[in-house]
């Protein structure tokens, strides 16, 4: 059964929508395979606008890997903006892929990548436009398996009703394994239908199928237990970890869009994982242990990627890029190689130390020294101990002063508001810090032409972190502290003008908190909000706090829970958490101990350089830290 392109139906709608180019595909390095020659067909979705979704590395990697398999085909689909959604409904055009404009419902697997929970309503729009029943239990033999991945999939419970399956962790190997299971099942003539396919996936131990687990609740609303409802599925589903990043040098051929996107550069992940142990950071906790890509693979990937794409900027990605054991050699090697070619290099710098400035200097060797970013995250020294972000005020001021005296004019400082145990004083400490930074900078440079921007957002406790038990700060308190901080910065005659202030309101964080630590009952809220028009919740112009609150009121009617119960309530050690049956490798007792250490302001070291502190990941997952140095250098390229 061949599948027709929907483009002839879509094309007449495009002249009436904003930025039509985002819907036509045809990106450089995109792949259109023959439908009938493939037996396993994936539609990969990033549930946000094309301009955000296209550059996403996770989707690009899986797209390339799956298309390299002989019998597998992968295409991409993104959230359509409300203007096109309305026209598609009016003209009966279903959700389509941008590669060959095939209907999403015709695929075997719809793989959705969630880096943020705020994409959940967009999943529902896509399912609905595709003609796929929203609730997994209503789906039939012709519907794709809806599979979630990405960081938010470490607690997929709020969207469990809408998913057939979810995968935790790195997707490279498991997506190939899933393709193989689907291929075999189809080759055998689809024995046992959809249920057996899901059963085969679940029995591997690495694919979570929500409907094979029942959740029981206590009368007070807490979870009593989560247990498999049939034999052959594991009690706990494990995350996936790619151990050798040099074996998986993807993306090799980055997608180059015609449309403008948020990230116009070629990015290479230089390592995965992070063991610095910042207690608020879900990414750091769930991606352990650290696995470095070698300097030579990085060099090769940059060379091929630039040649294939024509991009003029390279980004070195990771959770803390300055921590790569050979970052100085990587920086110098790349800067040497591309000297005089108008190729920009960038490194999201967050670590607060002088070494980071040396690196930034190397990266900006041929360009302008515009701005540097540091993330102290907590305003006071006490706060930074609670979150295990080990930076002293002295360090910070010394680092920033060095930056100013080496020609950097603008320094951006990132903070969070509403952290556990936080008081007004901790947040007001940010104002003192910013003033000291400017004062020291002026003294060091003898110039008043330096600036510092304070950027601050609300903290959201995340699953699989030591703060998973913490009470989220209510939005009134957060907004109040943000206002006090603004006043403290603005009212300062001497330094106020040199300090910029950017902040995010507290309300969206409460919704993010509900979705992050929610359980299956939160699915009804998502659905109610979506039915009331909720779309693109990550965009302030589309987000509506009132819509979420009234949706929650309707959905929780008759249940002993409410939004506060999920967000601002502290959990105790024995409470069953909605994601306890999903295994990120972290030892629960270690996490609890780390939470207790947070409250008593006790820090932990990084296990890369100090002995293992038994977080549990390596023994549970059979992994180990993979770091250099390799001692190798990047040689000049023969052809540039």
């Amino acid at each position: 059964m061949s599948v027709e392109s929907l483009f002839p139906l879509l094309e007449p709608l495009l002249p009436s929508v904003q930025k039509p180019i985002q819907y036509v595909g045809g990106e450089l390095n995109s792949t259109v395979k023959d439908w009938d020659e493939a037996t396993v067909r994936w539609a990969l979705m990033y549930p946000d606008a094309y301009e955000v979704g296209l550059p996403n590395q996770g989707v690009q990697i899986l797209y390339e890997i799956l298309n390299e398999l002989p019998e597998t085909l992968a295409e991409r689909t993104y959230a359509v903006w409300p203007d096109l959604e309305a026209l598609m409904r009016e003209h009966g055009v279903p959700q389509f892929t941008v590669d060959a404009h095939r209907p999403v419902r015709a695929f075997d697997v719809l793989g959705v990548s969630f880096s943020t929970e705020l994409g959940y309503t967009n999943l529902l729009t896509a399912l609905d436009l595709a003609g796929i029943p929203l609730v997994a239990a209503d789906r039939g033999e012709d519907d794709p398996i809806v599979l979630a991945g990405g960081h938010a999939a470490f607690n997929p419970e709020p969207i469990a009703d809408f998913l057939d399956a979810a995968v935790l962790g790195d997707g490279e190997q498991i997506s190939i394994a899933i393709s193989e299971v689907v291929r075999e099942w189809k080759a055998e003539g689809r024995p046992g239908g959809r249920d057996e396919l899901l059963m085969r996936l679940a029995s591997t131990g690495g694919v979570y199928v929500p409907k094979f687990y029942d959740v029981e609740y206590h009368p007070d609303g807490r979870i009593k237990r989560v247990a498999p409802n049939r034999s052959g599925v594991p009690w706990r589903v494990q995350k996936h970890t790619v151990m050798d990043l040099d074996e998986w040098p993807y993306p090799k051929k980055p997608l180059v869009p015609l449309a403008e996107t948020v990230h116009e550069r070629f990015s290479v992940e230089i390592f995965r994982g992070c063991t610095r142990g910042c207690r608020f950071c879900q990414a750091g906790m769930i991606t352990r242990p650290v696995r470095e890509r070698s300097i030579t693979t990085i060099g090769d990937m940059v060379e091929v990627g630039l040649k294939e794409s024509g991009f003029n900027e390279v980004g070195l990605l990771s959770l803390s890029s300055a921590d790569h054991s050979e970052i100085a050699e990587v920086a110098k090697g790349l800067a040497d190689r591309y000297e005089g070619t108008n190729t920009g290099l960038s490194l999201p710098s967050t670590r607060v130390d002088a070494f980071n400035i040396d690196l930034a200097n190397e990266f900006s060797r041929n360009g302008r020294r515009s701005g540097l970013t540091f993330a102290p995250e907590g305003g006071s020294e006490r706060m930074r101990k609670v979150i295990n972000k080990m930076v002293t005020e002295e360090d910070l001021i010394r680092t920033v002063t060095t930056a100013y005296s080496q020609g950097w004019r603008q320094v951006k400082l990132y903070f969070m508001c509403g952290l556990p145990t936080e008081t007004d004083e901790d947040v007001l400490g940010i104002a003192d810090l910013a003033k000291k930074v400017i004062k020291a900078g002026r003294e060091a440079t003898g110039s008043r032409d330096i600036r510092c921007t304070v950027s601050i957002g609300g903290f959201v406790p995340k699953p699989h972190t030591p703060f998973q038990w913490a009470a989220q700060c209510d939005h009134e308190t957060v907004d109040n502290r943000l206002r006090k901080l603004r006043d403290a910065l603005r009212s300062d005659k001497e330094y106020g003008k040199a300090i910029g202030y950017r902040y995010h309101d507290g309300q969206p964080s409460i919704v993010e908190g509900l979705l992050s630590r929610g359980d299956r009952r939160v699915g009804a809220v998502i659905r109610a909000v979506w039915e009331a028009g909720g779309r693109f919740d990550g965009w302030s112009e589309h987000f509506s706090f009132d819509r979420w609150m009234s949706g929650a009121e309707r959905a929780f009617d008759g249940h002993p829970v409410d939004v506060a119960w999920y967000t601002t309530r502290e959990r105790d050690e024995v409470e069953v958490l909605p994601w306890d049956h999903l295994d990120a490798g972290l030892d629960r007792e270690w996490l609890w101990q780390d939470w207790q250490d947070a409250v008593t302001e006790t820090e932990v070291e990084d296990c890369r350089w100090t002995p293992c502190y038994d977080c549990g990941v390596c023994p549970t997952m059979g992994t180990e830290i993979q770091i250099g140095p390799t001692g190798r250098k990047l040689l000049p390229l023969t052809v540039v």
Binding site: L14, I21, E260, L306, G310, F311, N312
Partner: protein, 268 residues
């Protein structure tokens, strides 16, 4: 800058939905991939020396867009054409490259020939509307610009306006054409307008002429038009034809004449 090259390229099929910014990004990247020795402006954020003349609006296809590239080592125009073309996505197709002889390319682009397909519209009604439009002295239209609504005359700049039958020549080539043209012609009835419009300020675009047709003859096509710029160049006001703007560069250098103006559907 040792040499300046003038490039004619087409924007075809789905790629007509690219905006001018999209195209300039795509061209800059293609120039890098093709390893063309483009010059850069001085300063902190160096820009490649590529300049564009009168780009067709988003949603409008074109067989005749022009740009100029400054290079730091001399390039052979034909080779540059092939290399740039193969580095661009299909649909952004490089048709012709000549070495600039001097003068301003923009000044030579005095008018455009447009092909406007109106699926679902009656060809006889279109012909009647076109005649009434041409018979009018002035046709005031209003268009929403970034600075708000603006009124101007859409008639004077139009040198020629005819309506063709789908059985006419243009329609026949479209049917024999590629998949791209085939799917923009969903079958009868379909009216095809052909117009030659002088470049004036404010610009008179094919949609302004369509607005004019609605005003003078209540002619309102049922679905969005598919517009293609067929040619751009110096105008022969008497015959209403455009000449190839790159011929002047070729003449000065004594080269071969460029490809004749092609009709939609002739490519490939």
């Amino acid at each position: 800058m040792v040499q300046r090259l003038r490039v004619r390229y087409a924007k075809r099929g789905r790629l007509r939905f690219t905006s001018h910014r999209d195209i300039s990004r795509a061209i800059e990247r293609a120039v890098r991939r093709a390893g063309i020795p483009v010059g850069f402006s001085a300063g902190f954020t160096p820009h490649p020396k590529i300049s564009y003349a009168g780009a067709a609006p988003t949603g409008v296809a074109s067989e005749a867009e022009y740009l100029e590239i400054g290079v730091v080592t001399a390039c052979e125009p034909d080779r540059l054409r092939a290399e740039l073309d193969s580095s661009l996505p299909t649909g952004l197709d490089v048709l012709d490259v000549v070495e600039a002889s001097g003068g301003s390319l923009a000044d030579r682009l005095q008018g455009s020939v447009w092909d406007v397909r109106l699926p679902g519209a009656d060809p006889a009604e279109a012909r009647d509307a076109a005649e009434r439009f041409m018979a009018a002295e002035r046709v005031e239209v209003e268009r929403l610009t970034k600075k708000g609504p603006r009124r101007f005359d859409a008639r004077e700049a139009v040198i020629m306006l005819t309506a063709e039958d789908p059985d006419g020549t243009a329609a026949r080539t479209a049917r024999e054409g590629t998949e791209e043209t085939a799917d923009r012609d969903p079958g009868p009835p379909c009216a095809i307008l052909r117009m030659v419009v002088r470049h004036v300020t404010p610009a008179v675009r094919p949609d302004d002429v369509l607005t004019g047709l609605r005003l003078v003859a209540a002619f309102a096509p049922p679905s969005p038009p598919t517009v293609t710029r067929l040619a751009q160049g110096p105008l022969d006001a008497r015959t209403g034809a455009t000449a190839d703007p790159l011929d002047l560069d070729r003449d000065t250098r004594g080269g071969e004449p460029g490809p004749a103006v092609r009709h939609v559907g002739d490519h490939k």
